[in-house]
C-alpha cells in the first residue's frame, strides 16, 4: 500500500497518534473502490460495517424528508472521512451517500480493523486515548454551553463577542463534530434571541415620544378652520348644558 494511503489514514482523528508501522499495518487492509457518478455508496439503514476515506471526487450525504424526497445534508470531498463510528459500534447507517461525480474511496472494513486491534494492543490503546481526548474536548464544550445557558437566562449576552472566533474554529475541526454543530446552533439561537430582544428594546426605546409641532398646527388648522367646527364650538357648551337641565 502506498505512502499516500498512510498519510490519508493519519488524517483520521482516531489514527493521528499511531506510529507509521501501525498505519502501514492498517493500510494493508485498505480496499480501493471507484464509484461512478450517481452510484450509491450506501443507503440509510444499511449495516454500517466499514469506514470510507474520499480519495478523489465528491459525494453527497442525503436523507429523505417526510414527503419522500431527498435532501442533501452535506457534500464531502477529497481527504474527508465517512462513517468512522461504524468501525466500533456496528449501527445501521444514519444517512445515505451517493457519488456526485466519479469518486475514488478507500474502504477499511470493520472486521479487518478488529483483527488488527487484536494483533496490535498498542493500536487499541492509541484509539482509546484518542477517544478519551475527544470526550474531554466534548465535555469542555458541554460545560461551556451550560455556563452560557445560565448567562442567557440572566439576560447576559456579553459572551457572544468573545466566543465567536472559537465557534468558527470548532466548525473547522470536522463536519461530523456534532458537539461543534451544537455549539454553532446554540450561538445562532442566542444571537436570534438577543436580536429579537434588541428589537423589542428598540421599540420600547423609540418611545422617546415626539410631537411634531408644525404638523400638529397644520392638522389643527385644517379642522378648526371648517364652518362645521366653528359652529360646533359655538354650540358645544350649550348642548351639554341643555342636556344636564333635562335630567
Amino acid at each position: 500500500m502506498d505512502q499516500e494511503t498512510i498519510s490519508q489514514l493519519k488524517n483520521i482523528d482516531w489514527f493521528d497518534e499511531l506510529s507509521d508501522d501501525m498505519l502501514a499495518g492498517l493500510a494493508q487492509k485498505i480496499l480501493k473502490r471507484t464509484l461512478k457518478k450517481d452510484e450509491v455508496l450506501f443507503q440509510k439503514g444499511d449495516e454500517g460495517n466499514s469506514l470510507f476515506i474520499i480519495n478523489s471526487g465528491w459525494v453527497k450525504v442525503i436523507a429523505r424528508d417526510t414527503q419522500g424526497s431527498d435532501i442533501v445534508l452535506n457534500q464531502v470531498g477529497a481527504g474527508e472521512i465517512i462513517g468512522e463510528m461504524a468501525l466500533l459500534d456496528n449501527e445501521p447507517r444514519s444517512a445515505g451517500v451517493v457519488a456526485l461525480e466519479k469518486t475514488e474511496v478507500l474502504e477499511l472494513k470493520r472486521v479487518d480493523f478488529m483483527e488488527i486491534l487484536k494483533q496490535q494492543p498498542d493500536l487499541a490503546l492509541s484509539v482509546i486515548r484518542n477517544f478519551s481526548s475527544r470526550m474531554r474536548y466534548n465535555t469542555s464544550y458541554i460545560e461551556k454551553i451550560t455556563e452560557m445557558s445560565k448567562r442567557v437566562a440572566k439576560g447576559d449576552y456579553s459572551f457572544i463577542g468573545e466566543t465567536q472566533a472559537s465557534q468558527k474554529g470548532i466548525k473547522q475541526v470536522s463536519d461530523q463534530d456534532k458537539i461543534g454543530q451544537l455549539l454553532a446552533e446554540f450561538f445562532a439561537m442566542v444571537q436570534g434571541v438577543k436580536s429579537r430582544e434588541d428589537d423589542l428594546k428598540n421599540q420600547v426605546e423609540k418611545l422617546t415620544l415626539q410631537i411634531d409641532e408644525s404638523q400638529l398646527k397644520e392638522e389643527l388648522d385644517e379642522i378648526t378652520g371648517t364652518d362645521f367646527y366653528v359652529k360646533l364650538k359655538d354650540q358645544a357648551k350649550k348642548l351639554r348644558e341643555q342636556r344636564l337641565d333635562n335630567k
Binding site: L200, K201, Q203, V204, K206, L207, T208, L209, Q210, I211, D212, Q215, L216, E219, L220, I223, T224, F228, Y229, L232, K233, Q235, A236, K237, L239, R240, Q242, R243, L244, N246, K247
Partner: protein, 259 residues
Amino acid sequence: MGKIVSIHSFRGGTGKSNSTANLAAHVALAGKRVGVVDTDIQSPGIHVLFGLDESSMGKTLNDFLNGKCEIKDVAFNIGENVGSDEGRAQLAGKDIWLFPSSIRGSDISQILRKGYDVNLLNTGLQTLMKEFDLDYLFIDTHPGLNEETLLSIAISDVLIIILRPDNQDFQGTAVTVHIARSLDVPNLLLMVNKAVPGTDLDDLTKQIEAAFKTSPIGILPLNFELASNGSKDLFSLSNPEHDWSKGIRKIAEVILSIP
C-alpha cells in the same frame, strides 16, 4: 345627571371597542343605567362583544339617520339577551342597551355615499339619554376626527382617548387633546392600551404628562389572550384576574367617581 362618555382613538387597532364594551359593562354592573352607541358607522364592531350578529340585529342607527325609525327602536336590551358566554352572562338583568350601527354592506355604503345630518345624530343621542333615563351613554367613535366624532367630543362630559405607546398615536392624540380642550370638554382622560412587556411605566407616564399636560388614567398591557380569543365575549368579566381586566375596572371606577 346623565353623562356622555365618548371613547376615541386617533387610529384603529387601539382596542377601542373592547375597552368601551368592558367599561360600559362594569358601569352597568355597578347598578347604573347604561347606553352604548356605535357611531363607528363605517366600520362597526362593538355589537360582536354584546352577542349581536347580522341575523339578530333589528333596527340600527342607520335606520334612524335615514328617517326610517325612532332612536328608541334601535335599542337592543343587553340585560335581557345576555346569551351563554361566561363574561356577558353576568350582565343578566342589568340596565344596559346597545344602539348598534348596521353591519350590512349596502347600509354602510349608502350612508357613506349620501351622508347624513350630524344634527340628527345629536338629537338622537340627546333623546335616548332622556327616554332611557340613562346615567351614562358610552359612544364608540370612528377613529380619526370626522364630523360625527367631533360632535360626540363636543357633547361629551367625559372623553377617553385611547392610545398605544408609539409615535404615530402620540401625534394624533395631540390633535384630539387640543380639539377637546378647545371644545371645553369637562373631563379629558388618556388611557394607554397595548403596552408591550418591558415598557418603562414611570417613564411613559412622565412623557405623557409632558406631552399632554395630563396623567394617563391607566396603562393597560398588550393582552395576548384577548387578541387570540377573537374577542367575542367581555374579557374583563370572563378573566377578572388578568392585568388588563384590573386596568379596565380601575378606569370604570374613575368614570363612576366623576361628579
